[in-house]
């Protein structure tokens, strides 16, 4: 129990800061903080996959697209309550994640990376083909739009719920099985972990998280779902967020989400390179530097600092 006190304390600190933030920040900054919350959900999901089972997905933007379009289409055609559409996004992406993950996960991690990369490039093409239902290049507009504060509250409430859910899932049998798969697939099989089941399940769960993030993402852009929002860059951002986060630490995931949620905004003001490409140049260079200097991500850095402090 004593071991968990610092963890609980940091959790409470984060929660308290998040409650206070909307009262001190300007409306624009609230929208940025909401953006970080949205990425928190997605990076958290991806962290379950990369961090706990050691699989790489370069295609989580595709699941965000599926979640986002679910929300926009349900709101446009059926005026469904937005919170209900998020639950639907969660369920649909879980199922799609299982379907996509199944063939790829029977093989080594590189194949999953290949398949998900192809998925990330393929999914934005679907609305172009079925433009009557999915709006083509123009996109789908939901009937309801929401304020920045609404998004902020929704994003961080989802973050909190999904964080607790992840904790509940990973602390027991499931989490042990996931970690066993990561450390040695063969040893895991030998100890009775059914590899395809657990790998696919991890992929499904993380896809479902991305779906919720996508649904929030669309609401944050005035309820407008468009193929160009869900380009390859989004998927790459998520993977980078997970890499910056490192393994299984709340602070790590927060840092990863802030990195990908805020860096594009920060880097657009870089002189010389110019707004539009500044994002890509700074982002790409930052990612490579982080990987060279902090191979275990922010969580690894924290662990190293903690070890230094103790010594």
């Amino acid at each position: 129990m004593r071991r968990q006190i610092p963890a609980l304390a940091s959790l409470l600190v984060v929660a308290a800061v998040l409650c206070v933030l909307p009262f001190v920040l300007s409306d624009y900054n609230v929208s940025l903080a909401a953006q970080v919350g949205i990425f928190f959900v997605a990076v958290l999901g991806l962290n379950i996959l990369t961090g706990y089972t050691g699989q790489i997905s370069i295609g989580h933007g595709a699941f965000m697209a599926i979640g986002g379009y679910t929300t926009a289409v349900m709101s446009r055609d059926h005026h469904t309550n937005l919170v209900v559409t998020m639950l639907m996004a969660f369920a649909i992406c879980f199922v799609v994640g299982l379907i996509v993950g199944l063939p790829a996960l029977r093989l080594s991690g590189v194949y999953l990376a290949l398949v998900t990369f192809a998925l990330a490039l393929s999914i934005p093409q679907i609305p172009l083909q079925y433009s009557t239902f999915l709006g083509g290049v123009g996109g789908v507009q939901s009937t309801e739009t929401v304020s920045n504060l609404w998004i902020y509250t929704a994003a961080w409430t989802c973050s909190a719920i999904l964080f607790v859910l992840a904790w509940l899932l990973l602390r027991g049998r499931l989490g042990r099985a996931f970690r066993a798969v990561r450390d040695s697939e063969i040893a895991a099989v030998a100890s009775g972990v059914e590899l395809p089941v657990y790998k696919t399940l991890a992929f499904g769960i993380s896809a479902a998280y991305a779906g919720v993030a996508g649904s929030l993402f669309v609401l944050a852009t005035n309820g407008f779902a468009q193929p160009s929002e869900f380009d390859l860059f989004l998927s790459l951002e998520l993977l980078i967020g997970a890499a910056v986060a490192g393994l299984g630490s709340l602070w790590g995931v927060l840092a990863g989400a802030a990195f990908v949620g805020l860096l594009p905004q920060v880097s657009t003001s870089v002189p010389l390179i110019g707004a539009q490409h500044g994002r890509d140049v700074v982002f790409g260079a930052a990612v490579i530097l982080v990987m060279l200097l902090l191979p275990d991500g922010f969580a690894g850095l924290l662990a190293r600092i903690r070890r230094l402090a103790r010594a």
Partner: protein, 337 residues
């Protein structure tokens, strides 16, 4: 099936070691070739689609081969391979603006690509190469970085380059075959043969194969494994540059997203070929090129249009992994504890 088994029995009787899987693959490929041949003889449109498919497929094959070279050596996929090819194509464009002729720029670009590939391996890949995830993420970072740099220097708008083979075409019995397609296939095949010869007949190639197969043993007999891996990246970048330069005229315009769809086709090609097999990558590339061109050509736009070409390649990728994960030419993976 019985004909096949009796054929195997016949070969075995003569003392040949025959893998039934390989025979099936050979029969499937032979069947596909006969199907294409009959189709081409019966319909000029079909022949035109096939030729176009082979030309595009050779480009996919070249990029797939670049991926396979890196994968064989280090068991990672270079996700920036396509963007690297796109960058080198822009360099060729710039050299031509500076007044170089097409083929002079072509040669200079290949040299630059080699240096660039080698440098990247030494500076950013080597420090993280102990972890597959780290390498993948670094290549993803390179992907974004290269994309940003190209957009920064040249802008996102379409550029056009002079066509290396003119706009004329041959007319073979009513089938119009443009010089471009013939040229693409010849250039790609020539570069693949050169790379193959390098691996097969030179001491450098021997060292590179040794470094890829048994790094520790190769180091013990004096092969400088690190240098070999760096040269491997350089060669992969050269093949990628060939793919980019040959892809540009077929897409008519040069843009920063030139190689993104092609990279997905190259993935499908490499996986179809078995991910470890250079021949497989090339055959896979042509198979993907021809089948995509035929499907998009013949299936009505309402069902599968050009928009669905990428999702289709994705579906093919999934299907290969479901049905024959080792690909056509790959060996089944055996893992040791």
């Amino acid at each position: 099936m019985s004909a096949e088994t009796s054929a195997i029995a016949g070969l075995r009787a003569r003392g040949w070691a025959v893998d039934p899987g390989a025979v099936t693959v050979a029969l499937v490929l032979l069947g596909a070739a006969i199907f294409l041949l009959i189709g081409c003889l019966r319909s000029a449109t079909f022949a035109q689609y096939t030729v176009q498919g082979i030309a595009l497929g050779s480009v996919y094959g070249a990029l797939a081969l670049a991926l396979v070279l890196v994968y064989r050596a280090t068991h990672v996929i270079n996700f920036a391979q396509g963007e690297l090819a796109m960058l080198t194509t822009y360099i060729a464009y710039e050299l031509m603006l500076k007044g170089l002729s097409y083929w002079a720029a072509f040669a200079a670009t290949l040299a630059i690509a080699f240096v660039l590939g080698t440098l990247l391996q030494v500076t950013v890949i080597r420090p993280v190469q102990h972890s597959v995830i780290a390498v993948v993420i670094v290549t993803v970072g390179l992907f974004i970085l290269i994309d940003g740099i190209v957009n920064w220097i040249w802008g996102g708008d379409f550029k056009s380059m002079p066509s290396p083979f003119g706009i004329d075409s041959f007319n073979v019995g009513g089938v119009v075959i443009s010089h471009l397609y013939v040229g693409m296939v010849i250039v790609v095949l020539a570069s693949v043969v050169l790379v193959w010869a390098l691996f097969r007949f030179t001491k450098l190639g021997l060292g590179m194969r040794a470094a890829a197969l048994r790094p520790a043993a190769a180091a013990l007999v004096g092969v400088r494994v690190d240098s070999m891996l760096a040269i491997g990246w350089g060669l992969a970048a050269v093949l990628g540059a060939v793919a980019g330069l040959m892809a540009e005229p077929s897409q008519i315009f040069l843009s920063p997203t030139l190689m993104q769809p092609i990279l997905v086709y190259a993935f499908a090609a490499a996986v179809l070929g078995g991910l470890e097999s250079p021949v497989g990558a090339l055959v896979g590339g042509i198979a993907i090129g021809v089948s995509l061109t035929l499907i998009v050509g013949y299936v009505p736009q309402n069902y599968i249009g050009t928009e669905l070409q990428l999702p289709l390649a994705f579906a093919v990728l999934l299907l290969i992994l479901l049905v024959k994960p080792a690909g056509l030419f790959g060996r089944r993976e055996v893992r040791r504890v």
